[in-house]
Symmetry: C2
Subunit: 338 residues, 2 copies
Amino acid sequence: MGETGETGNSRTRPTIYDVAKAAGVAPSTVSRAFSRPGRVNAETAERIRHVAHELGYRMNPIARGLPDGRTALLAIVVADLTNPFFFEIIRSAEKTAIDSGYTLLVVDAHESGEAERQALERTLPLVEGVVLATSRLSDSAIRAVAKQRPTVVMNRVVTDVASVITDNAEGMRRAVEHLAGLGHVRITYLAGPEASWADGMRWRAFRRTTQELGLKARRLGPFAPTLAGGLSAAQALTTHSATATVAYNDLLAIGAMRGLTRLGVEIPRELSVIGFDNIFGSDFCTPPLTTVAAPLRHFGAFAVQRLLNQLRNPSPGLSLPALLPAKLVERGSTARHA
Amino acid sequence: MGETGETGNSRTRPTIYDVAKAAGVAPSTVSRAFSRPGRVNAETAERIRHVAHELGYRMNPIARGLPDGRTALLAIVVADLTNPFFFEIIRSAEKTAIDSGYTLLVVDAHESGEAERQALERTLPLVEGVVLATSRLSDSAIRAVAKQRPTVVMNRVVTDVASVITDNAEGMRRAVEHLAGLGHVRITYLAGPEASWADGMRWRAFRRTTQELGLKARRLGPFAPTLAGGLSAAQALTTHSATATVAYNDLLAIGAMRGLTRLGVEIPRELSVIGFDNIFGSDFCTPPLTTVAAPLRHFGAFAVQRLLNQLRNPSPGLSLPALLPAKLVERGSTARHA
DNA sequence: CAAGGTGTTGCCACCTCTTGCCGGGCAGGT
DNA sequence: ACCTGCCCGGCAAGAGGTGGCAACACCTTG
């Protein structure tokens, strides 16, 4: 409509051949005019660009990718698209990708290793690299992926695969120290999915820190890292004599708070609750959740950055996992032990 | 690893040529064995499949798409990936796509027409069709997209483009009638983005219904359809004498409730609030939000279904917008006017 | 036994773009 | 005037599939 020329008659777009004919040059010259600036005379290039624009020409990325596999596509696989934990991660990852001329595909694994496998099967051939955000895959499956495409894992450590993680141990230490400072002695950890690497790290850090501080630690679970999982956790918690609990993640914590409230337990007066991740929503639930905050915004950007590095120089020299700091955000769900 | 043969040495995967050589047939036969069952002898096909599996062969979807553009990729463009409104939509859309052998790309437009345009620019060439979920684009821009690829718009009506919408008028009627039934007379509508087609529909339905019921209607806004937007709305509301408000969507409503609570306004005693969409989180905010629920789960599935229809028979005969019902979910944010 | 039918497979052109290589034209040095 | 070397544009070979057409084997039928 706002275009010059006779566009819109068909759904097939002009190719470099059309542009070449219109500009009176060879197709290869058109190709170079776009992908290899400098390699072609400035005037010629200008003329080609002009003609191309007039014809409404757009490079066909799938044909572009054929010769050497450069599709300019990256993928991020998240365990659960509806988990606010990933919001900032996806956003920042996307921004970083775009800034470097890549498009980021967001793939949802539905918290299922099988779905994740299938999704990867479909997506992997399309993309140049992949970020596995909190994957539910086995280490060997992840290594198999990494063998096909440059890969960065998030919140997990897999031998021979680049990774970006938060300082779970430090975060957990802060959480437990906070509770200890409030006079709590009997604390329960609400565990997340067995397949979660982060869950293992958090539980171990929990046990270690409580031990060091001379507290009584217990573990309940595993629970699904969802609101529904939190409801089950609430049930289980009532049979416990703990006065405080640290949950695997915020969703679980919020679900547990809701369940407990429904069961007549007053939070934080009767029970203090701490979550992990500081997700969207953790500040407007009731009461606002005290939580261990990860620098989510940097998380995604950082992962993509590492991926891009791998793409640029495919050195087999693997680097250490990048460790991002964690801090405690104190809100209304924790209080002094009466 | 778990594979037979000498896999893993390189990142380049076997092609039909490798399979053909190993199976002692021509490459085209391998191609047909996969993409045209029946067209090749059952035994030959079986042998080829066996060899292919042994070699770890996977069809390369981008090469596959070269001749006729069949990439088996669809895209859904959402206004804001972090808006829970889209969760169920994306999930159901994805499931429908996968069930039909397609992969769904999720594209985030960041509530910006410009970002949406750029994202489409990058994605459109890759996909066979696109669902525009609550697009911020102009009608003519959308028609331009529809000219390039089969398109379905959601929550909006654009001439000559297939669409799936909820019954905004009916939903708004239910909401206003609910408030009228509770004795409210002065009601305010909190408007969403100017570029939102749904906002226009809702506001018009609001005005019409309030008029019919003899209520005093006012409009405030526009506000961003986010929690932050709701905070501004809360400010603006305090200067109003309304006893009830209907917000453009749930996020705006929840943000407004938070802002009002902070300003010392008690909900629902002093002010009743109704949202739109019944998103994830609307039931665990404080108080739980009364809202107009759309059948989100069907929404995405339906849109993709229509898209697949267009793909299968590219008839120019356009159909009427599909209208999905809306109902009111009464929760704690509305009460009788004192 | 020849003619015709049917079912399978191979050959090759094609989809769009990239890239190595080559040659023509031109400028500058001798 | 001739050689050298650079710059630029063209040619053609892929990249990994698809699909039309033809060949060929084998079987049926007259």
